[in-house]
C-alpha cells in the first residue's frame, strides 16, 4: 500500500451474495482498506453499465462489481 494515497472506489454488491459476504467479513473481523463505498443492489445484474462511467465521472478512482 502507498502510504498517503487511499483510493476511493465505488463498489456494487449483490444483496444475496457479495453483500452477505461483506457482512460476514465484518462479523469475522477480516480487515481490509477503507477504500470502498458500497451500493447494495438486489443482484449484480442490476448494475447498468453506465453506472460504471457515472462512477468514474463522479470522483471515484475505480469501480468494483461483486456478484
Amino acid at each position: 500500500m502507498q502510504e498517503t494515497y487511499e483510493p476511493k472506489i465505488l463498489a456494487f454488491l449483490c444483496n444475496w451474495c457479495a453483500y452477505a459476504g461483506a457482512d460476514l467479513a465484518g462479523v469475522s473481523r477480516f480487515q481490509y482498506p477503507p477504500s470502498i463505498r458500497v451500493i447494495r443492489t438486489m443482484c449484480s445484474g442490476r448494475v447498468d453499465p453506465f453506472y460504471v462511467v457515472e462512477g468514474l465521472q463522479n470522483g471515484y478512482d475505480g469501480v468494483f462489481v461483486f456478484g
Partner: protein, 1032 residues
C-alpha cells in the same frame, strides 16, 4: 385485510376443543423465539418472565460464537418484536404458581410481583434511578458495579420500564419507612408504593418451559480462590467486563486496580466434568467455545499485546464452524491452548493482585506461571427456582436436574401438553436453544391445530402520511452499537456532519439503535419534526432493516422511506486500525444513504395467494419428523425420498445415547408417516426441477418414468449426509477394519467373532478435523464410546481401545465417557501430526491388527494387537450442490447448507419459504435432528398459517411509452417474471409479473430503450447515491 377478519370472526364463533393460547415461561432467547413463532402462526401467547425484563442470559453476553456477532445487536430485534407483538402478552416479575388441567386446556395461576412503577405511565426517563439514594449491587453486571434500588435491568430492556426493588428500597427497608425520593421527582407520576401482588388466572392449550440455566457459582466450596482473589472471575463476569454496557464501559480492565491486564488465563471445566461435591459430572457443552471467543475478543479489545492462555482437558469444538474458529484462534489470533489441569492458584507475591498458576503440562513438566487475571469457565446448572417450577408443573427432572426428554421427543416433558426448550433440557448453546424453541412451538401448534387463529387479533396500523408532494425531511440516527461502532468511528462527528446534508432536518446518536427505547425515540422524532424519510447509520440491512421499517410504519411513515447505512459490518468492524478513515467512510455512507432516501417513494406491499402445501425432501428421521409435524398442524405435505424405503441412517442405529431402542422408534415414526392422511410419500423419487417462490413453488418429482408436478408453498431440505469412505488404516484391505456401525452388525451377524476376539480398537476423527475437512463430525466420539460400553458389558475380558484426539462426549454424554473408563475401556490420545499406524500381523497363528500410537503421558510409542478396528469416519454432505442450485440456496465451505444466520436463524435460508434440517445442515445426533426438523416445520408453518404471502414491492417497472415490445427483457429474465402482452393499438409491450420478480434488475440493465426501471432501486436513486458517495 377484510377477508382475514371474517375468517377470524368465523373461527371465534365456532367452539374448539383446545384453547388457542400458549403459556411460555422464561423470556430468554428460547422463550422469546417460541413466543414469536407461535404468535406469528395464529396463537395467543402469554410470556411469563421472573425478572423485570426479557432477554435472559444472552442479553448479558458481549459477543457470540462462532460469528463474533454482537449479542445484544442480534437479540434486540427479537425482543423488540416480542415486546410490541399484538398477540404476545408479557407478564414480567412473575412466577407460575399453579398448573391444573391437561393438554389442550390448562388453567394456570401466575403471580405477578409489584414493580411499584405503573408501566402505563412510566416513560423510562430514569429520574427515579437518578434520585434514588440507595446503591446496591447490579446483578445484571454480576455485581461488578452498583445500580440504584430504582432501576432498569439493562439499557435495552424490554419492556423498558423501571422497577423498585423492595428488598433494598429505603422506604420498604428503612427504619422510618421514609424516602420516596423517586415518587417526588417522577415527572410521570408513575411511582406507586401501594401496588400489591396480582394473580392472573389464564387458560392455555399448552405450556412451554424455557426457564434457562444459571451460571455455576464457584464459591461454596470456593474454587481456585474465587471470592478471595479479586482478579479471579467467572466467565459471565468477564462477559460483562467486555460489554460496552458493562461495569467498565467495555474497557478491558481487571477489578482489583482497574488496570489493563497483559496476561489472562481461562480455566475450563469449572463446575463441570467434576465429581466433587457442589460440582457437576456433565460437560456444560458451551464453555470451550465461549472461552475461545472471550480470548479472541479480549485480544481485540486490548489492541496491543495481550497474552491469553486456555487451560483445558479436551477442546470440545464440535458444532458448525466451531473447529475453524478454534483453529483461527490458535493460528491467527495466537491464543495459547494448554492441555493441563491447574493445580493451585495463589497470589504471585504478598500484597500482589497477580496470580500464580501451578500446573503440570502434558509431558509432566511442572510450571509456575503468573497471570494478571484468571477467568473460570463456569458451567451451566439448574437453579432451585427452576426445580420448584418443575414441581409446580408436575414434570420429571433427570439426575442432573434437567428436564427429562427422550431422543425421539426432544421437546416433550413427562407431562403431555408441557414442552421444554433451551438449557432447561440439558446444557446447550444459543442456536440449539433457538431450534428447540421453534420445535416446542411446532409441538404446541400440532397439539392445538384446531384452535389456530381462535384467539389472535390482526395488527392494524394508522394511516400512512402522504409524503409524495412534500419536500424530503430526513432524520438521521447514528448508532454507537455499544462500542462496536463507537470505538472506531467518531459517532458524534458523523452525527454533526449529517446535520449539514441536504434535506436533513434532524439528527441523533444512540447507544443501541435497535433497542426498544430508540424505536420510541425515532417515532417521537418523526412526529415532532415531521420527518418523512429516515436514515439509520448502524449495522446491516440484511438483519435490521425490517425492525426499523416496522418502527417508522408504526409512526405513520411508509416502510420504504427508509435507508440503512452500514457503518458497522462494512466499516467499523473491518477498519479497526484506521479510525479516521473509517469516520470519513461513515460520513460518505450516510451521505449516500441520505441522497438515495430523499428520492425514495412510498410503496405498497403486494399480497399474493399462498399454496398451503409443504414439500419435504429426504425421508430420514429429520424429513419424516418435519412432515409429521406439518401434517399434524393440518398442512398437506409431500415427502420425497430417493431410496425405496423411508428411514435413512437412523435405521443403522441400535440404541440412542439415552439407551432407547432406536429401531422401534424409527419404525413407529415411519408407520405414522405412512398412515397419515395428510402426508403423500414418494419413494424412489427424485426432485428434478423447482420454480417459483415462497407460497407458490412448483416442483417436478420423478418416480420411475413418471413425472409428477407438485404445487407447494414451502420446502424443507432434509437430505441428510453420508459417511466418508476412508483410504487409510487398511480400510478396504482387511475385513477386520470397519466403519461406524459395521462392527456391531458383524458381531450381531456372527456372534462367534466377538466370542473369539481378544481386543477391539476404535480410531476417532478419521477424515474429520483434517486440513481439507476442518470440522468435527460431532457424533462419532459418543458413538464409539457407546459401542465400547456395550462390548465391555457383553464381554468384560475384551480389551477395548479408543484412539482419539479430543474426547467430545459433550453435554450429558459425559456420563458415558465416565462409564466407559470405569468399565476399563482404554483411551489413548493421538495428535494430527502423529496418527496411529495400523499393520496386519499374526500372533500365535491368529490374524491380528497391530496398532502403534504415541502415548502423550509416557512420551513414547505404545504398541498393541487387536482383532478388529472400527473407524469413526467423517460425516460428509450428500448431493447438496444439486439441491442448492435448484432452490438457489447457499452452501458453506464444507458443502453443508448455510442457514440465514448461524445463531438466531438456524433452520431458515435467506431465501423465503425454504428451510433446512438434519445432517444436511451439519452432523448431529438424532434428538437434535428431530428438534431441528420440528423447528423447520414451525418456521414453515409461520408461512403456511398466513392467508397471503406478502411480497416486497421491489420489482421492475415498465414504462410502456418507451417500450418497443422487443422482448429482450423476457428473454433475459431468469425467473420468467416479465413477458410481452398485446396492447390494443400498440402491438406488444412488456409487463412485469410482480409475484415472480426477484428484483434482480437484469431486465432493466438489458432494456435497449431504458424503458425498465427497478422500483426502490431506480436509476436516479442509484445515480444519486453514486454521486453523493463520490463527492466530498
Amino acid at each position: 385485510m377484510e377477508s382475514r377478519e371474517n375468517v377470524h370472526q368465523l373461527k371465534k364463533s365456532s367452539i374448539t376443543k383446545s384453547v388457542g393460547s400458549v403459556l411460555v415461561v422464561g423470556g430468554g432467547i428460547a422463550g422469546t423465539q417460541a413466543a414469536l413463532d407461535l404468535a406469528n402462526s395464529g396463537f395467543h401467547v402469554y410470556l411469563v418472565e421472573k425478572s423485570a425484563a426479557i432477554g435472559g442470559g444472552m442479553a448479558q453476553l458481549d459477543k457470540t460464537f462462532p460469528t463474533n456477532d454482537c449479542s445484544m445487536c442480534i437479540l434486540s430485534p427479537k425482543l423488540v418484536e416480542c415486546g410490541r407483538h399484538l398477540n404476545i402478552q408479557l407478564i414480567t416479575m412473575a412466577d407460575v404458581e399453579k398448573v391444573e388441567g391437561q393438554a389442550g386446556r390448562f388453567t394456570v395461576a401466575v403471580r405477578e410481583r409489584p414493580r411499584y412503577i405503573d408501566t402505563e405511565k412510566c416513560i423510562a426517563c430514569g429520574i427515579c434511578a437518578e434520585k434514588c439514594p440507595k446503591k446496591v449491587d447490579d446483578e445484571f453486571n454480576c455485581d461488578l458495579n452498583k445500580r440504584k434500588s430504582a432501576y432498569v435491568k439493562y439499557p435495552q430492556a424490554v419492556p423498558l420500564k423501571y422497577a423498585i426493588d423492595p428488598e433494598t428500597c429505603i422506604y420498604f427497608k428503612g427504619k422510618k419507612g421514609k424516602c420516596k425520593a423517586c415518587e417526588k421527582f417522577c415527572p410521570a407520576d408513575a411511582v406507586d408504593f401501594d401496588q400489591q401482588d396480582k394473580v392472573h388466572t389464564i387458560e392455555v392449550g399448552s405450556i412451554i418451559l424455557a426457564p434457562g440455566f444459571q451460571s455455576f457459582t464457584p464459591d461454596v466450596p470456593p474454587v481456585y480462590g474465587y471470592g478471595t482473589y479479586p482478579n479471579v472471575l467467572t466467565s459471565m463476569e468477564f462477559e460483562r467486563i467486555l460489554s460496552a454496557a458493562g461495569p467498565y464501559q467495555g474497557h478491558l480492565l481487571r477489578p482489583s486496580d482497574q488496570q489493563t491486564p497483559k496476561k489472562i488465563a481461562w480455566l475450563q471445566c469449572v463446575g463441570s466434568r467434576d465429581l466433587l461435591p457442589g460440582s457437576h459430572g456433565y460437560c456444560s457443552g458451551v464453555c470451550c467455545m465461549y472461552a475461545i471467543k472471550e480470548a479472541v475478543i479480549a485480544k481485540e479489545h486490548a489492541h496491543d499485546d495481550l497474552d491469553t492462555a486456555i487451560f483445558y482437558m479436551d477442546m470440545r469444538t464440535y458444532g458448525k464452524d466451531f473447529e475453524r474458529y478454534y483453529e483461527r484462534a490458535k493460528n491467527e489470533h495466537g491464543v495459547r491452548f494448554v492441555r493441563a489441569r491447574i493445580h493451585s492458584i495463589e497470589p504471585s507475591a504478598q500484597n500482589s493482585d497477580d496470580l500464580k498458576l501451578r500446573y503440570i503440562d502434558e509431558d509432566g513438566t511442572p510450571y509456575d506461571e503468573i497471570f494478571d487475571l484468571v477467568v473460570l469457565s463456569t458451567g451451566l446448572e439448574i437453579s432451585d427456582g427452576v426445580r420448584k417450577l418443575s414441581e409446580t408443573c408436575g414434570i420429571v427432572l433427570d439426575e442432573d436436574g434437567f428436564a427429562q426428554t427422550g431422543c425421539f421427543s426432544p421437546v416433550a416433558t413427562s407431562r403431555p401438553g408441557i414442552f421444554t426448550c433451551g438449557a432447561f433440557a440439558g446444557p446447550k448453546d444459543i442456536p440449539y436453544s433457538v431450534m428447540e424453541a421453534s420445535a416446542a412451538s411446532a409441538a404446541s401448534a400440532a397439539l392445538l391445530a384446531d384452535a389456530r387463529n381462535s384467539l389472535t387479533q390482526p395488527k392494524t396500523y394508522t394511516d400512512e402520511v402522504a409524503v409524495t408532494a412534500q419536500e424530503p425531511r430526513i432524520g438521521v440516527f447514528v448508532c454507537h452499537c455499544g462500542i462496536n461502532i463507537g470505538s472506531v468511528v467518531d459517532v458524534p462527528a458523523v452525527r454533526d456532519y449529517s446535520k449539514t446534508l441536504p434535506h436533513v432536518v434532524y439528527v441523533a446518536d444512540n447507544l443501541f439503535s435497535c433497542s426498544e427505547d430508540t424505536q420510541h425515540l425515532i417515532q417521537e422524532a418523526i412526529n415532532e419534526h415531521n420527518l418523512n424519510r429516515v436514515v439509520v447509520a448502524a449495522c446491516t440491512p440484511r438483519t435490521h432493516e425490517p425492525l426499523f421499517q416496522e418502527t417508522i410504519r408504526e409512526a405513520g411513515l411508509n416502510r420504504y422511506l427508509f435507508e440503512l447505512a452500514n457503518i458497522r459490518d462494512q466499516n467499523s468492524w473491518v477498519h479497526q486500525a484506521e479510525p479516521q478513515k473509517a469516520t470519513e467512510k461513515a460520513k460518505d455512507l450516510v451521505r449516500m444513504a441520505a441522497a438515495k432516501v430523499a428520492l425514495q417513494e412510498p410503496l405498497d406491499r403486494l399480497q399474493v395467494p399462498l399454496n398451503h402445501n409443504a414439500l419435504v425432501i429426504g425421508g430420514g428421521v429429520a424429513g419424516m419428523s418435519a412432515a409429521l409435524n406439518l401434517a399434524d398442524q393440518g398442512f398437506h405435505t409431500y415427502l420425497v425420498e430417493q431410496k425405496e424405503e423411508l428411514g435413512g441412517h437412523a435405521l443403522n442405529i441400535k440404541r440412542t445415547w439415552k439407551d432407547e431402542d432406536a429401531g422401534a422408534h424409527v419404525t413407529e415414526i415411519r408407520r405414522r408417516v405412512l398412515d397419515h392422511v395428510d402426508i403423500e410419500v414418494f419413494t424412489g423419487a427424485k426432485l428434478i426441477d423447482v420454480i417459483g417462490f415462497v407460497g407458490n413453488f412448483t416442483s417436478e418429482v420423478q418416480t420411475n418414468n413418471t413425472v409428477r408436478e407438485l404445487n407447494h408453498g414451502v420446502a424443507i431440505l432434509a437430505t441428510g449426509a453420508e459417511s466418508y469412505q476412508p483410504q487409510e488404516y487398511l480400510y478396504g484391505q482387511s475385513e477386520r477394519v470397519t466403519c461406524w456401525h459395521d462392527l456391531e452388525d458383524l458381531f450381531t451377524r456372527e456372534p462367534e467373532r466377538l466370542q473369539q476376539a481378544e481386543a477391539v480398537a476404535f480410531i476417532q476423527c478419521v477424515g474429520s478435523r483434517e486440513p481439507d475437512r476442518p470440522y468435527c463430525s460431532k457424533i462419532c466420539c459418543t458413538s464409539s464410546v457407546q459401542q465400547a460400553i456395550s462390548l465391555k458389558t457383553e464381554k468384560p475380558d475384551l480389551d477395548v481401545y479408543i484412539l482419539y484426539r479430543d474426547l467430545r462426549t459433550y453435554g450429558q454424554r459425559e456420563e458415558l465417557y465416565r462409564k466407559a473408563r470405569e468399565l476399563g475401556v482404554l483411551f489413548f490420545r493421538y495428535s494430527l501430526e502423529e496418527k496411529p499406524v495400523v499393520e496386519q500381523t499374526t500372533v500365535d497363528a491368529k490374524e491380528k491388527l497391530q496398532i502403534t500410537v504415541r502415548d502423550h503421558v509416557l512420551g513414547q510409542p505404545v504398541r498393541f494387537q487387536v482383532d478388529y478396528l472400527n473407524l469413526a469416519t467423517a460425516i460428509i454432505p450428500k448431493n447438496s450442490e444439486e439441491l442448492a442450485q435448484l432452490f438457489k440456496v447457499p452452501l458453506n465451505e464444507d458443502k453443508f447448507f448455510l442457514e440465514a444466520h448461524m445463531k438466531l436463524r438456524p433452520v431458515d435460508f435467506a431465501t423465503d419459504g425454504v428451510f433446512v434440517c438434519g445432517l444436511a445442515h451439519y452432523p448431529k445426533p438424532i434428538e437434535e435432528s428431530i428438534a431441528q426438523a420440528q423447528a423447520a416445520a414451525a418456521r414453515a408453518a409461520n408461512v403456511l398459517a398466513q392467508e397471503f404471502v406478502e411480497v416486497e414491492p421491489i420489482v421492475s417497472e415498465v414504462d410502456q411509452d418507451l417500450c418497443i415490445g422487443c422482448g429482450l427483457c423476457e428473454a433475459s429474465c431468469p425467473f420468467g417474471a416479465i413477458h410481452l402482452v398485446k396492447v390494443a393499438g400498440q402491438g406488444y409491450r412488456a409487463e412485469n409479473i410482480s409475484a415472480s420478480c426477484k428484483a434482480c434488475g437484469v431486465c432493466a440493465a438489458a432494456c435497449p430503450q431504458q424503458a425498465i426501471d427497478m422500483i426502490h432501486f431506480r436509476d436516479r436513486q442509484i445515480v444519486a447515491a453514486i454521486q453523493a458517495g463520490g463527492a466530498g
